[in-house]
Amino acid sequence: MSLTVNGQTHDATPRPGQCLRTFLRELGWFGVKKGCDAGDCGACTVHLDGRPVHSCLVPAFRAEGRAVTTVEGLGGPAALHPMQQAFLDAQGFQCGFCTAGMLMTAACLDQAQRNDLPNALKGNLCRCTGYRAIGDAIAGLNHVEAEPFGGPCGHNLPAPAGPGVVTGKARYTMDVAPEGALSGLLHMKILRSPHASARIRAIDARAARALPGVVAVLTHEDAPDRHFSSARHEHTTDDPDDTRVLDPVIRHIGQRVAAVVAESEAVAEAACRLIEVSYDILPAVFDPEEAMQPGAPVLHDKPASSRIANAGRNIAAELHGEVGNVERGFAEADLVHEAVYRTQRVQHAHLETHGCIGGYDTDGRLTIRTSSQTPFLTRDALATLYDLPRDKVRVFTERVGGGFGGKQEMLTEDIVALAVMKTGRPVKLEYSRPEQFASSTCRHPMRITVKVGAKRDGTLTAIAVRILSNTGAYGNHGPGVLFHSAGESIALYRCPNKKADGYAVYTNTPPSGAFRGYGLSQSTFAIESAMDEVARKLGIDPFAFRRLNVVQPTDPIQSAGHAEDDLFFGSYGLDQCLDLAEKSLERAPAPDLGPDWLIGRGMAASMIGTVPPRGHRAECRIRLAPDGTYELSVGTAEFGNGTTTVHGQIAAAMLGAMPAQIRIRQSDTDVVTHDTGAFGSAGTVVAGAATRLAAEALAGAIRNYASAYAGVERAACRLFGGEVVAGKRRIPLSELADAARRDGRGLSGIGSTNGTPRSIAFNVQGFAVAVHRRHGEIRILHSVQAADAGFVINPMQCRGQIEGGVAQALGAALYEELLVDEEGRIANPTFRGYHIPTFADTPLTEVLFAETTDRIGPLGAKSMSESPYNPVAAALANAICDATGVRLRETPFTADKLYRLVLDANQTRADAPAMTDIAGNNAAFPPEG
């Protein structure tokens, strides 16, 4: 059949059941993205005869004779469409994976729809931005500053990838044609277990192997007899070695059983259906408390060398610590509060699913193009797993479509590497959205008991927590998340007596893993809710209670035991954050919504170390290119975090250059020797510090060379844009580069950092809410987050990180929950069943920055990407309690649970508390515990 795409005629025939999305991509139009493949996310939006449609739902044969426009054809050949320009002007994107679909939708909106974006954009999901920047783009606002000479830091420079993102040219993991080294590309599909606990007795793959087009079927017999962890850390010993590439023991529904590698996805799918597996079904355990009991089924019968804390009791990791004496502290208290707080299973839901493409390069190196936050650590893990020299493995990412911790794992690269080695051909594995939900990782569900003792005047006497973390079938990130959850959330308070006990427990559910906040979002919900309960019972305003009890810059940074001897207050802006958030809440409008609505306000604070503990390393390299531009090589990956922009700003500042002079190569094991990875909010403070050192070194080298070249003193040489001003001469950088090359010298710099010492960042969230007293509906009337990010290198981007963090956290606080049914199966593995915030759900959040300059971070900066997520759920619970008298100790806070509690609570008292009546309403509290 024939169709027109972006003005070009294509003669091609789709398969009978093919959808337009994959057909267009096969024709080379990679601007058409896959977020869900089910019509929910809108990332694949194209115009069909001028009307916007979700191309994943359009039968491809229906495009016959019709005109399709993708994002690549939205503008003219030379010019951007006005909406593309608008998305650049407002920087209405972060990772950019949703942007093509967002643009194709926004470009079609009429005036009425532009005035009703909540409805107009309900078919477009963005996980990064929190939608404010998208709304601003459609409204035509401009946030980008013109490039300032010499001093780019502190300004709103645009992301270098912006033009590629808005035109669909930016290449994400799957956006490559099966040509060149990838010709003959094979496709992998994974057969997954229908049982939560079983031992594979036999796999009969004869029929599958006999199917034409099948190249290989991999089973546990093909996998290395070696255990590892899918978690990626600087130290591989941080996580228990409990995972195999393919394991004859099944520990959760959705675990890999076999993998088919075939000439097409269709054949691979068909072959999966032909594999016959016989299982010995084993008893399963789904509740972590039950899993710890004697007699519970043991998931991992493994030796001590696996580093499982207590395999016989299913305890992957354990934590016990005490400072002072909490029993004495509770005895001294006038009030002791104790309650259990629960957080649910939530998913990262980055729009780009996991996936990678592996093959051999012309030198015979195993090469993996992947969607990862940790290309270097994944390279190392593959080398170890398959006994390959590190220089025989290359791992790289181009642009990554969101991460949020989910890509601090090796979830696809290991099995693709195995398939490449077995077949000698390039192999691609791309997760479907249901696989993403049911078979990747999620945030650790936690059950946290908090006990707080306080004097009548509010002074804390003791804090004790017991943390029960469900690490699922595997222990990836189980120890780290557990330890972090008992870290800064407790250290936030000055209190002489602190105690923490924690257990990360195996269950027969899909594995948990790294997730934005890395344990702190769960424990901050518990502890900040508990502190609010204590303050209320004592009749103390929650801001005043924090001012009385939070850690001060002269205090030691003390959690409940393990010492953090490289953690310092490089700057301290918590006091400012409290003031900023409080004043903003006071300014919040108090609309009269009528008698059905109960109004209240609440807040919560959080604290985070700016770098993960125990080493986070980065190397950056920069060189002066022959054309007089700078080529900066960094290891850290870009997935919407904006660090590429920041690295350009830092390098430009050090070199007196315009950011446009800096070209950046990144996230490729070929460009630098090591980078621990883009996690733990390290992209700016660790890798950025290395970029600073590298650029400083290069600036010194250029000045030295210019001094000799021009015969003037070094002190008289300075870098200015594309030139070196050497005394009275102005020497173009290209001339110096050329001269240095002829001298046999390259002008370059290298910077390395190891992530220590570390500083502390703060976030304070405030909400004003209204709750419908009969329906349980929650409306957010005002949202504010005050953040101490040190010196903010790019305020526009940093604001975006905070807005996105608040939005993602509101999803977890209000809607999101991966449900596990009684057999251990994820019951809602689609966006229709797992609602993430849409434009309509996301309030504007006022973002305010404390004015601090850090003495540790690069140029005074601190991290600000995970932490905005952490205080949100507690602040919302505290506001809901203020409004209704109902204390919610379990996320998410859905209307169908809340309505009954509000009805019951408000039958027992004459009227709801007014907004100013923040203290003293403990009469209607449900019983503790």
Binding site: G17, Q18, A38, H54, P59, K897
Partner: protein
């Protein structure tokens, strides 16, 4: 998504070409559900997009909606001024979880045939006393009220090989005063509760409960009921087990809001009647 087990597509233009639906066959209308989930049991699609059925036909008898009429076409329909129920069309279209882009493809008939509790075209067509015309495989047809067509989630009253051809909304119902209430766990999300009240020309009140129940429930009152009577009829007509239980709302919440909204609608329409 790609439906990789499909090996043939039939694109009939006339009823004679429709053929007999066998195992592995499915009608393809808008495709917005069919292509949104794996369908490994299907091997052949009968595409209805070339049938040329007139999407909407309005005359003195009412409105005839072809099963293949897209939601976008229905939403754009300009009703005569005397059709006082016409705003329900827009209200129900806006009750889709899906956006206006999906409306360009999704069909009214497809929404009915899915028979999901939250199907807003079901709410619309039941509230406006719609009658389905169903083509039977022997070349005949039969008619069935929409309220009886939707028997439960994914359970339309279609026998093997039958095809929903159209829905007729009678003129009398289109002239009624209406009241509309909807609740969702998210701001513009999938309906958890959707109630519509109408005032028939002959008097009384008709209340349609959808989304909160496993199938639509239609309560007709000869005279405007009082609050107690309304509440008693609801309790009688909807046993607890009929309230739907899924991620879009707990049954007790749906029940609570059903009673709440029903009373609001009663008051609103009693005032209008007066």
């Amino acid at each position: 998504m790609d439906l990789n087990t499909i090996d043939a597509v039939v694109r009939p233009r006339h009823r004679a070409q429709l053929g007999a639906l066998g195992p592995g066959d499915a009608w393809l209308a808008g495709g917005t559900w069919l292509f949104s989930e794996p369908q490994p049991h299907l091997t052949r699609l009968f595409d209805l997009s070339l049938t040329g059925w007139e999407p909407l036909r309005a005359d003195e008898t009412g409105l005839s909606i072809a099963a293949t009429c897209t939601v976008a076409t229905l939403d754009a329909f300009e009703a005569p001024p005397s059709w006082r129920a016409a705003p329900l069309i827009g209200q129900c279209c806006r009750s889709f979880l899906a956006s206006f882009k999906i409306w360009n493809m999704a069909t009214v008939g497809g929404n009915l045939c899915m028979s999901l509790p939250a199907g807003p075209m079901i709410s619309l067509c039941v509230a406006l006393e719609g009658i389905c015309t169903i083509w039977t495989p022997d070349g005949g047809e039969r008619r069935l009220p929409v309220v009886d067509f939707v028997q439960g989630p994914l359970q339309p009253a279609l026998r093997p090989g039958e095809l929903l051809r159209s829905i007729e909304l009678p003129r009398e119902a289109l002239g009624r005063r209406t009241a509309f209430r909807r609740a969702s766990l998210t701001r513009l999300g999938r309906s958890g509760v959707l109630l519509i009240g109408t005032l028939p020309a002959a008097g009384g009140l008709v209340l349609t409960v959808t989304a909160s129940t496993r199938r639509p429930v239609r309560l007709a009152f000869a005279d405007m009921p009082g609050a107690t009577e309304l509440s008693a009829r609801l309790a009688e007509a909807i046993p607890d087990a009929l309230y739907y239980d899924d991620v879009h709302g707990r049954p007790d919440w749906r029940r609570h809001l059903t009673f709440d909204f029903a009373e609001e609608i009663r008051q609103e329409l009693a005032e209008a009647r007066a």
